[in-house]
Amino acid sequence: MIRNNLPVLVIIIPLLAGLVTSFSRRLPGFAWAWVTAVTWVVFAIAVALLREVLGLPTGGHISYPMGSWTVPWGIEYRVDALNGFVLVIVAGIAAVVTSGARLSIEAEIPADRQHLFYSVWLLCITGLLGITVTGDAFNVYVLLEIASLATYTLVAMGKDRSRRALTASMNYVVLGTIGASFILIGIGYLYMVSGTLNMADIAEHLRVLQSAWQQGDMTYRRTVVTAFAFLMTGFAIKLALFPVHSWLPDAYTYAPSPVSALLAATATKVGAYITFRFLFTVLGASFSFNVMPAGVIILICGVAAVLAGSWIAMRQSNIKRMLAYSSVAQIGYIAIGLGLANPTGLQGSIVHLFNHAVTKGGLFLALAGVSFRRGGVTLRHVQGMGRRMPLTMAAFVAGGMGLIGVPLTSGFISKWYLLSGAIDKASYASAVALILGSLLAVGYVWRVVEVIYFRPPADPAEDVREAPASILIATWVLIGASLFFGVNATLTARLSAAAVRALGVLP
């Protein structure tokens, strides 16, 4: 019985567990152990789902009618090779980051609020997993808001270290709400023309309309175009695609360290996934890319994101902020693959979802270790730490290599796919941007490496030890994954190829 209910358990378990966590004020230590256990269970479920989907014939999916209401009238949860993969990424990162985050959270969040922090933490994970697993357009909006509201709160909890966490969170609330509202309007227009909220069913109705348009009957064309415009703007804000990324750098910089690690690794990935889902599955690739200029717009934004993000990253003295701008650039890479919209480019995008999630998650966890020992994450705090915190700093360097895309790191694999995709499509501007972006990444990573290894510690008498083992292990699990999948990309290549097929684009 449990087997049949896996698609819903993946969100019901963290949702209810989060509620339980909020009552655990009198049990110090319980919240972390409980939340860690829950995230690992969720990860196991996600892996089981992905294995089951991959066992199905090509293009197969698992459909779960919520409360046994017949699809398309009830809410359907639907897992295919694409969102199965994203589920595994989100749940896996959540499990690893939670496991390593205990000391960091104890250091950064006041004791009387930690149980609430863990509760909101699980709520955020619930929302992200929910957006991924649901097959219902309105459900996407609701879960998106659950994830966003939890994220605003998590970011604001950095206020005990810097009050700017509050303004960062406020900015995010304003932009995030506008983004989500745009998505809501877009879904409303789609409902107007299709009379349904089930994504697969909307797609079916739109296909009928679109073939009518080709015959010259323009019924509802303008409504669908409007829906497209609202949805894309909303998703771009949620995904932090340049130039509507302005909420991201502050939010990642001032959030508590584990929150930055979780968000950077998962939230934008889910945003990217839902953009893929709407462009390809719901609106249809031929509408989005042939009738509408989605490809060109996304390519331009992606190229600008790569160049501007990397350039600004080079000029930061706060390393967390540097990584945040680097995230803007890496989202640009994902966008370039999406804008190319050919099988190789898309595969690069989807591989990069995974590769960037583990790399950036590991890097932010390494910074959590630095912050734990040094009380800050500016260049001054890591100066000369190559000898004092060798393992943390080595992790940072390995992660940085991944951002650059040095061969034998996973970043190389995704950039290889993206570059081949750009050349296949004869989109030389994006190929140049990919290479320039990597060069700029060398610039911003090298600045930090130089300070770490080639300068004496700011205060040589100070006794600084290696980061605590728990943070270090979690960091190296993610960085190790980034290196492992750089050397052996068979698994990620297979998963991303299956995901591209699930989008209806044949590789």
Partner: protein, 123 residues
Amino acid sequence: MSLGGHYNYWIAILLMMIGLYPVIAKPNLIKKILGLSLFQTGIFLFYISVGKVFGGTAPIYFEPAGRDPAMYTNSIPTALILTGIVVSVSTTAVALAIAVSIKRAYGTVEMYDIENADRDDQE
């Protein structure tokens, strides 16, 4: 299909724009939050309008009157907006809670003063 025939949509869009204006133009956080709330209310009106059937009555089903089953208002958008209102209230609550914390930390809810205070911190 005259322009006037869709006046409820015009009102919904007008309400959204009135809401969006303070979000963009006003430096006061409370006004921004008010604007967001108004913007979302505009969307709710839009959804409710989608569900309207001309000549339709409240979706309470009763057979004996011999009523045409198509002549009921579509209740799905209404139900959706019930959820939408909950989301909107939660957003407003979270935003106001953050505004309260900002007032405690900075002593003001005006964006310009907050930005000045942050600049002073850095110097």
